[in-house]
Amino acid sequence: MSHVVVQRTVVRMLYDPVFAHAVYANPHVALAGLDLTHPERDALVRPDARAYATDPYRRARALHGLLVEYPASAWLASRFIGDVRGLDAFFSAPEFHDCIATRGSLAAAFGAYLQHMPFGDARIAALAQIETAIARVRRAPSRPVPHHHAPSRVLVLSTRHAVVELANGTAALYEAIASHVRSGGDDVTAFLLRDRTPASRFKSPVDDSMHEFLHIESTSEGGVAIAAATPELAQLLLFAVPGHSRAALASRACDLGADPAEADAILEDLLHEGILLG
């Protein structure tokens, strides 16, 4: 398996010149903790160091793809860092390196980066939460699969669906900024580079003391549908993420205000619509 670790380390070095420089300076320190032999660490620095840097546009291309999926949070973040190109720092961040080292999703890692970075406006993290969920359902297999491997006779939320719990006002802010970015044409990156609209144009506050829920769905036409969800439905779907028996889900529905007959009908509808799998 160590060749896999070597290969993933090569990828990290190709994307992150700071990391590559550290590996060349002292591979045994920079790669400490990785399952690599001494010869493998030495092998990583045997090529001319400049060979890792022959594609100067590698990060820009990857960032371009990510911006398309994170238009709203990237737009707002770029108001605070001055230039959307500053988000290129993601490729030197722990979220990126963990993603490569663990065979993760680049889009999910970028979403985590946007949610964790202290850009100066908490609304960026909230917007990234929505866009991370969109990216996730967009990648779900066309054939529905459960979020987790669940034993038989357990109902689980389909990976083509996601529910996000947000600070109140986030959905409206998201729609306003996403609409603004859409108005700039098909090339999201070009718009993010040229747009000078101040963040103050979108003053919608988000109120973390109150919460709202969105139900995000990957549609059969290849798109993504976003709709507000009642707190009760959202809580039920979130409860279904790890998988529970039908009886447990019905009991949860009753706790959330349904009578037993309603609970059964709700579960039947959710199964029929492919939101729950069982």
């Binding site: 398996m1 160590s2 060749h3 896999v4 070597v6 290969q7 993933r8 090569v10 990828v11 070095m13 190709l14 010869p39 493998e40 092998a43 990583l44 045997r46 090529p47 001319d48 400049r50 060979a51 890792y52 840097a53 022959t54 594609d55 100067p56 990857a62 793809g65 990510l66 993603c99 490569i100 065979r103 993760g104 999703s105 680049l106 889009a107 990648r139 297999p141 054939r143």
Partner: protein
């Protein structure tokens, strides 16, 4: 049945051209069907590069609808990662194979994507050149062969960073032996690897089991410089670099089971490609591969 017996049953495709999704839409791009009609000896088959998320474009579809010969060049599988040969991908591959009816599968045996197969993860890196990686790659080739019923020929990928203790040709000799398979030798990629690892173009070829070479690629490249560091970009230009020709002309005389040669020039006007095709044909004739260049 051992590979050296199986290879006798494979068709002699001759000289062909390659394509991938969208390549034929490039301005003045080579039209394989037109070339097949005008100079059939240079376009006897089409190597269809397939990324399952994209499938076939209208040019590839038009070719296969005519019932013309094709090979399936995968663009989206890390053969050394067992989890990459998942059911959904294999189902898609079988579907495209049923459509194009390839003579065989082939493709760069490297890292096509980091992480799972999803948007934004695409790249192409050479494999780590060590013994463990050779075994893992061989296992993946056998698994794909068994899952599809087609021969699977690994191709040496391009790259700028080659890591590992084996020479690239020694690595692929082990892969081919352990998977009991043939090889797609990309002469341009080998030239790049030799340059990047400080070798002469022909180093290692005499020790390589050339009888396992079933297909060869010839393609142009461009020399670039970055901070004083020279490297070759495998851009499929029509200007084939001298080391690539040297490798092709040397290996072709030893590749007694050669079945196909692709001139990778899919984004170039056909008139600019003809001299390359002609040189390939002359080389094949000179090496005695007359079945590959019918008059």
């Amino acid at each position: 049945m051992r590979f050296l017996d199986r290879v006798a049953k494979l068709p002699k495709l001759g000289i062909g051209v390659s394509t991938e999704y969208g390549a034929g839409d490039a301005p003045h791009a080579l039209d394989p069907i037109a070339l097949n009609a005008e100079q059939p000896q240079y376009a006897r088959f089409l190597e269809v590069g397939i990324e399952t998320a994209k499938g076939l474009d209208r040019h590839a579809r038009a070719w296969v609808e005519r019932g013309l010969p094709a090979t399936y060049h995968f663009l989206d599988v890390n053969l050394d990662e067992p989890e990459d040969l998942d059911d959904a991908w294999l189902d898609a591959v079988r579907g495209f194979a049923a459509e194009i009816r390839p003579a065989w599968f082939c493709g760069d045996a490297g890292l096509w994507h980091f992480g799972k197969r999803e948007r934004g993860h695409m790249l192409l890196l050479p494999p780590v050149l060590n013994d463990d990686a050779a075994s893992a790659l061989a296992d993946g080739i056998v698994a794909l062969r068994e899952a599809t019923g087609f021969e699977v020929f690994p191709e040496n990928p391009p790259g700028q960073v080659f890591v590992g203790d084996l020479h690239l040709l020694d690595f692929f000799a082990r892969v081919c032996e352990r998977a009991d398979t043939g090889m797609l030798l990309d002469c341009a990629h080998l030239g790049i690897a030799q340059r990047m690892t400080g070798h002469e173009p022909l180093d290692g070829l005499d020790g390589f089991p050339c009888e396992r070479i079933v297909e060869m690629h010839v393609a142009g490249g461009t020399v670039h410089e970055h901070e004083g560091f020279g490297f070759v970009e495998d851009d499929h230009h029509t200007g084939v670099l001298p080391p690539t020709w040297r490798i092709f002309e040397h290996a072709v005389t030893r590749a007694r089971n050669l079945r196909a040669v692709v001139f990778e020039c899919e984004r170039n006007a056909s008139e600019k490609c003809i001299p390359g095709f002609a040189r390939i044909a002359a080389t094949l004739s000179g090496a005695g591969h007359t079945a590959l260049v019918p008059s």
